[in-house]
């Protein structure tokens, strides 16, 4: 199984290595964009996201890294969703980059159009990002996204995955996991919450398009996330990054637990961090401290019923998914973790 690339080897034995945002003991080249005093703060203060919003955090992490990688020559197209609504209630905006919103389902197409226009104008210095939530990506915008992949348009599409339609009141999307409570998958009956064996993995679908670069990232592992965004900006053609962004409101979790929940999702195996090029898996981020899925689930009210008596079969199903991911992507070294 491929290992993480040389450029993102974890730095060890410097108190916190590369696990924290910054580290005064590291060389500048190993420090993150978020740790610098002159980061671009592409998504600035005053936005109206909820307390502890994972998406607001993930968007700043990703766009700041892309800004650094493109020397601030960046345009973003945004799908409808929380990220659009909380950042840009007309006439105010929290974005400090050129940013365009059109419809819920066409962000990939708008991004492709911008890329085409830049090509026509001979501007190869300006790069394009299209972004949206999981609803706008995996359901409503899926046709446009697949077309963008198909044409290999020069766009990085970033999906901020919080596993449901949060902006409209927490309805199920095709990224909602089995067992999760949403407004449309209530925890009632024999199999409460969202049905298992439904939905889709867009990262794997994107890989099937054989596009130059596909990756998954999480707000808890900043160095990994920045590495993947920077790498994506160094490649031309269609690229896809999905970032796992917990939603305190929709998931019923404490705002202060957002990063912890993202960390546990990855550490239990439910959300594997991978990289793929031209359809081939090229890297996985190893689990550092493996935990059972219950540790991840218990912090979220959307899974409360899963941990109650009578629903052990749901817990087993979720654990089986995590175990399958660990095996499929070799998330745990035989020695037991990366460090």
């Amino acid at each position: 199984m491929p290992q993480i690339p040389e450029s993102h080897q974890k730095v060890r034995f410097y108190q916190t290595g590369t696990l924290t945002v910054g580290n005064r003991l590291l060389d500048a080249e190993h420090r993150s964009v978020q740790g610098t005093m002159d980061r671009s703060n592409s998504l600035d203060s005053g936005h109206r996201a909820c307390q502890g919003c994972g998406e607001a955090l993930g968007a700043r992490f990703a766009i700041d890294a892309a800004m650094r990688a493109t020397k601030n020559q960046l345009i973003a197209a945004n799908a409808t969703g929380c990220l659009e609504v909380f950042t840009t209630p007309y006439p105010e905006t929290a974005w400090s980059i050129p940013w365009i919103h059109s419809l819920f389902g066409n962000a990939a197409a708008v991004g492709a159009g911008i890329a085409a226009a830049l090509k026509a104008k001979g501007r190869d210095d300006v790069r394009v990002i299209a972004q949206g939530g999981d609803g706008g990506t995996t359901d409503i915008g899926f046709g446009c996204l697949s077309g963008m992949f198909d044409r290999n348009d020069d766009v990085l599409y970033i999906c901020y995955n919080n596993e449901a339609y949060m902006n409209t009141g927490v309805q199920r999307s095709s990224a909602t996991p089995g067992g999760a409570r949403t407004a449309t998958t209530m925890p009632v009956g024999k199999d409460p919450g969202n049905a298992f064996n439904t939905g889709k993995s867009v990262p794997l679908v994107a890989m099937a398009h054989l596009i130059p670069y596909v990756a998954t990232a999480s707000v808890h592992d900043l160095h990994d996330l920045e590495h993947k965004v920077s790498k994506a900006m160094g490649i031309h053609g269609a690229r896809y990054i999905e970032i796992f962004v917990p939603c305190p409101l929709g998931w019923g979790s404490k705002p202060s637990d957002t990063v912890k929940i993202a960390r546990l999702a990855v550490e239990c195996g439910l959300y594997p961090l991978i990289e793929a090029e031209h359809g081939e898996l090229t890297g996985v981020t190893k689990i550092r401290q493996h935990v059972p899925v219950g540790e991840y689930l218990k912090l979220q009210r959307r899974f409360a019923h899963v941990l109650k008596p009578g629903n052990a079969h749901q817990l087993e199903q979720l654990q089986a998914i995590a175990d399958r991911n660990i095996k499929k992507f070799s998330l745990i070294d035989e020695k037991g973790g990366q460090e």
Partner: protein, 540 residues
């Protein structure tokens, strides 16, 4: 206002939207008290000097230690390091090797001849009785302030029990000598071979403004053992002292040491080195209740000291020592069983603790002596105004580090006394417990093991048994510090704020919150590795 078609408002920034008004809790930065600092009897700011060591700033780290303790090279060898016992990292993997790093810094100072300067003269003079760790530390702190000091000691060399009680294999004398010399270079006057019998007369004669008593606890505690015959019964204090003075110790043949404390282990292990055929420690307590530190017992046994636990020596007949078997009881002490056994011996050494020679203090009117120790107030002052006391002679744990802590505290109060004011210590911060940390962020890093001299070489001489750690390992070990309760500028708060409401002020200057925008989600506090952020309720 002219706007394009279908546009009715000018665009604006979200910065106009002060989301701080949503907040019902606010994060605040604070410095909590790390458990190592809290546990240090000398009150060292351990976290801070480890922080400096992490960056290779060894001299600054050493000077940080010197603010509290003038003996890093000594303490890095003989301290029982309660800091490590309380280290939060101990609950994660293993405690930080604080003692080894202190020793490294102490030795660096001796190699590089780093010196601390005395303060500007104040014209005040302090008499110190006893040149042990407590007396010398008091001299050091008072010289830093600028008071003149004269230290009197009856022994030919300075160091007190560190020299005459702690064997060379744990405390090489050249290190002790060098650290004492540094205090002398600051202008502290040492009057050795000078016994003070009348403190008040000596004070008046020398025109001293204040006195610090630190004569230690040097009288051996003895139990009466009925001896029929000629078998010598020695005491540990004399044996260790004679070992130091290179005079005959009487340790020969089969040695029986009576006691299970650290001094018993010291004398037993010295016996091995002095060429005894065998050394047996007869211990009153059960093995697991021995008062000696575990590592002392372990090392003693490695060197061939035999332990006989739950035994009391009852009498000596010729070369036969009669032991009574004891059984553990509900109460504090084991109980006798009436069953006896004998072992043979050429010499018996009592190592049952030491008493204070209270005669010196009792002769001073106003000083109260109770339960064999001189009583002092919270300001370390005895009942006689201007006479302070510290170290083993006052009620305490009787370790070198405790004595050094007493002296630091006493020096502050003596200074206040000399200036006619009172000193009140700053209020202590909340101690950091393990659950205040987010330990996920710390690199997995096992403790560096200090090299040890082979058992063969330990048995045959007084060479120092615990080796140095090198510079790389010292830095590595310091970097295992989790900086409990004190910001080490990891940028996590600055990074994880979804509202960009944390301002980074630059290296060394930490961060500040932008309360105009902070929504009070608490992510910064929960993702702070070291527990240096606290959420407090807003007054609404």
């Amino acid at each position: 206002m002219k706007t394009p078609f279908a546009i009715t408002l000018d665009v604006g920034s979200s910065l106009l939207n002060k989301t701080g008004s949503w907040r019902n809790e606010r994060p605040v930065y604070l410095d909590r008290l790390p458990p190592c600092n809290h546990a240090c009897p000398a009150g060292e700011n351990i976290q801070q000097w480890l922080y400096l060591t992490e960056e290779g700033r060894y001299e600054e780290a050493w000077r940080q230690i010197m603010d509290d303790n003038p003996f890093p090279a000594v303490m890095g060898r003989v301290c029982y390091h309660p800091c490590e016992t309380h280290c939060n990292r101990g609950q994660l993997d293993e405690a930080v090797g604080i003692n080894a790093v202190e020793r490294f810094l102490g030795d660096q100072a001796l190699i590089n001849e780093w010196q601390v300067e005395a303060g500007a003269p104040t014209g005040k003079r302090v008499m110190i009785v006893g040149a042990g760790p407590s007396g010398l530390t008091a001299a050091y702190h008072l010289r830093r302030i600028g008071h003149a000091v004269t230290v009197y000691d009856a022994s030919p060399q300075a160091g007190g029990m560190v020299r005459y009680g702690i064997p060379k294999y744990r405390m090489p004398r050249e290190k002790l000598r060098a650290e004492v010399a540094r205090i002398e270079r600051m202008g502290a006057e040492l009057q050795l071979n000078t016994r003070i019998d009348d403190v008040v007369a000596a004070r008046d004669e020398g025109k001293f403004d204040a006195v610090f008593l630190s004569i230690g606890a040097q009288l051996p505690k003895r139990v009466d053992i009925e001896v029929n015959g000629e078998l010598p019964v020695l005491d540990a204090v004399s044996v260790l002292r004679n070992t130091e003075l290179e005079e005959p110790t009487g340790m020969r043949g089969h040695v029986v040491v009576y006691g299970g404390g650290n001094t018993a282990m010291d004398v037993a292990r010295s016996g091995v080195r002095l060429g005894a055929k065998s050394v047996t420690a007869v211990v009153f307590e059960a093995r697991e209740h021995m008062p000696a530190h575990e590592f002392e017992v372990k090392e003693a046994r490695e060197e061939g000291v035999e332990l006989v636990c739950l035994r009391a020596i009852r009498e000596v007949n010729g070369e036969q020592v009669t032991l009574e078997k004891m059984v553990p009881s509900e109460g504090r002490w084991p109980q006798p069983t009436g069953q006896f056994e004998t072992i043979s011996a050429d010499v018996v050494v009592q190592a049952l603790g030491q008493n204070v020679d209270t005669g010196l203090a009792e002769a001073i009117s106003g000083i109260k002596v109770a339960e064999g120790a001189v009583q002092v107030g919270t300001d370390m002052q005895t009942g006689s105004p201007g006479i302070f006391a510290g170290g083993d002679m006052i009620p305490s744990e009787r370790t070198v580090t405790t004595s050094i802590g007493h002296a630091k505290k006493a020096a502050r109060h003596i200074d206040a006394y000399l200036r006619g004011v009172s000193y009140s210590p700053a209020e202590k911060h909340e101690v950091v417990s393990h659950d205040m940390l987010n330990t996920w962020y710390y690199s997995d890093a096992p403790r560096t093991v200090r090299p040890m001299l082979s058992v063969m070489r330990r048995q045959s001489g007084f060479a120092e048994i615990v080796g140095n750690i090198d510079q790389e390992n010292a830095t590595f070990e310091a970097r295992r510090c989790m900086s409990c309760g004190n910001c080490f500028e990891c940028d996590n708060c600055y990074g994880v704020c979804p509202d960009n409401a944390v301002k980074k002020l630059g290296p060394g200057n930490r961060f500040e919150f932008k309360y105009d925008y902070c929504k009070g989600c608490g992510l910064c506090a929960s993702e702070c590795p070291c527990g240096a952020i606290k959420m407090i309720p807003e007054e609404i």
